[in-house]
Amino acid sequence: MTNAVKLNQPVRNNWTDWRMMKDNRRRKLLVQYAPDRVRAKALKKNDVLPAEIIEIGTKMLAEIPRDASLTRVRNRCAITSRPRGVVTRWRLSRIVWRSLADYNKLSGVQRAMW
């Protein structure tokens, strides 16, 4: 499936759809803000430090953009951008996975028979 992404059509980006593009953007933000997020969360979620510090922690966490949250990231299919039915190890939707497996493109994948 070398022609999964069409490169000869006029497009603004080469993502399958906008949702995939947004998901990619969220992942990038996640990586960028990860340390700040961890520290702010540590300050917020503890009962050891004084309340003022905890308040500061909550404010810091609120300042971080929402798209930097891990919960907003969705493991989509890399080719079709399908949000559900994604085989995690290959990052492909079950349909694409099946078609590739049938054409013998997935290493070690074989039709089950027992």
């Binding site: 340390p35 961890v38 520290r39 540590a42 300050l43 503890n46 050891v48 430090l49 004084p50 309340a51 003022e52 510090i53 500061i56």
Partner: protein
Amino acid sequence: MFPTSMATSIRNTKMLLRRAFSIKRNEILARNLCFTRTLNANEDQDKSKKVVEEKKNKAELKEAKQKEAKAKLNMLLESMSKTTQKAYPSESKLSLATPKIRAKPAKPVKQPVFNTKIEPEMLQAVEDVSNMLSKEKEALKNSLIAKLEDVADESERARLEPFKPNKQKTEDLNSLLNTLKVDGKKPKNKSPAPKLAPVKIEDIYSAQPSGIFSKAHFIEESSAVSGLATWDMLYEKELELAVTHPPANGFQQMIQWTKQGKVWQFPIDNEQGLDEEAQVGFHEHVFLEPHLKPWCPRRGPVRHFMELVVVGLSKNPYLTVEQKKEHINWFRDFFEAKRSILIDTGAIPDITTKSSPSLST
């Protein structure tokens, strides 16, 4: 069937002739039809010759009859031409409407010459000139027309042939131009250009600077920032592509990756590529208390918090030692910034008399 004889009354000759002729034709056609049918029916080769003979005879007969008919037709037509005048007068006796005849205005006599080589305007000009200038108008006109025609011919020839510079002609032209130059008109009295005093320069570099441009503010040309960012990026990409040679197929791609070390080596080692990290000992990852020692207070909520942080980091296999240190340092800076709040809340004991700037006692 009508009688085939042509001897009938004059009034009906036409009609009868036509009918007879058509009947004659039909007869002939019918005969031919039957004949062709018989021909088609007889496909035997023995009878073919006979059939051909018969066909020839029939053709001859047909021709003869046609000739006869034609002769008779001609005779009748001749006889008819005399009689039709009497029978059918050309002028009608009916009083029909006729158009009014208006006397057309006398138009001026147009140029009789339609010379293809010379334009009509030129011809008109020639006419006018010849009328005005001399008495022998015709001779002058003809001579002028002849000259114009010659010119036209020459231009046509020159147009068709490729151009070859004629030396004699160029010489003539040059001489003409020279004469023109010599006989040029003298310019009229114009206001002479303001004449400055001639500057006497003895030594160029010894003179003092005039200081004309000392206060000048030259407007810097705005740096050519092209608004075509995409174009610039694509141009750079193209340059890169021209220099590098991306792989043409999968084999070349695999070769490139192997050279770059991106390909898994067998037997698979999970820590392939993490050579630097392998050199760092586990003690640096786990024992992080020395990083707290310089700044963190020995007791209190801050210490408690930082100990928890350190325990968490010691159990984290995904961060490098540098990242862990950075993490701890960030907290140090944060608590340093919020020192006043910590003192107010009582997290840190109030030590105003102490000279050391650190948080530790």
